[in-house]
Symmetry: C2
Amino acid sequence: MRDDPTRLAEQVSTVLRHLVLLLRRTVAGQPVTSQQYAVLGSLEHGPRRMTELAEEHAVQLPTMTVQINRLEDAGLVARGSDPADARVRTVELTGEGRDRLLAVRRARIAHLSQELAALTDDERATLAAALPVLAKLGSNPR
Amino acid sequence: MRDDPTRLAEQVSTVLRHLVLLLRRTVAGQPVTSQQYAVLGSLEHGPRRMTELAEEHAVQLPTMTVQINRLEDAGLVARGSDPADARVRTVELTGEGRDRLLAVRRARIAHLSQELAALTDDERATLAAALPVLAKLGSNPR
DNA sequence: GGGGAATATTAGCCAGACTAAGTTAGTTGG
DNA sequence: CCAACTAACTTAGTCTGGCTAATATTCCCC
């Protein structure tokens, strides 16, 4: 029999695959893709610069450029400039972008709430307790 | 203030996004992509048919066809036929495919173990307790 | 003011997802 | 028993989303 950390890692690995599928279903059919939704979410509290967005979403700058291009074409975000540094482009939500973000968030939360409603109180408590741990896992700088 | 289930759903949503990034890092640089690894894993216990694989991975058949084509080109899987029904194609691991699967699994588990090692015993216990709940979440038939 | 660093974009590639359409093989009912 | 339907796959075409390499621009510093 294996040592405990390895077994736990295997179980986590299995569950992670499961959750990816859950997440996929959660966003299926929404008017924005899961990536677009994530980017809109980053803009909720004001304009951000391209490098910030790329870092936050763990993608290369050119990838973010393309995503922002699409969102701009769709009228959901607008590019601006930083008066202090002409190299940087800022990105912010348009009114329509904010509306869309909130609508998708509502749908998404509703879907997840439904899944959570199928659990017992104990299960929900167990899950809630584990969330900070999971968040810590993901943000480990390795 | 919002009701509790909604808040929990929001937190779960946030953590899920986080975990997707973790998972991405876990397979980065491996000799197979995360999808290919997942498909190889489905073949571990014997041949499967295309429809089974597509369903299991929640993708359309054509998507699976393309993936299997690539794995076949790479020599990791082999297509076969069902003697009882000439319409179905079976897919199974080659020796090389099995080797690759095990190697990637080891690397992946090692990576996750490292993340888990950074946690306290309590945190690991909390996480372990929540895994069955998370698995239940993901498999909810909605 | 010239050279290197920082910020972004463009271009070109590949994986992975989808739908629509085509092929081949089984199934069924008149 | 054969014609029509259904099932299992594959092919073709399109889209998103990721990457690297190359190119502008602008800033900063010596």
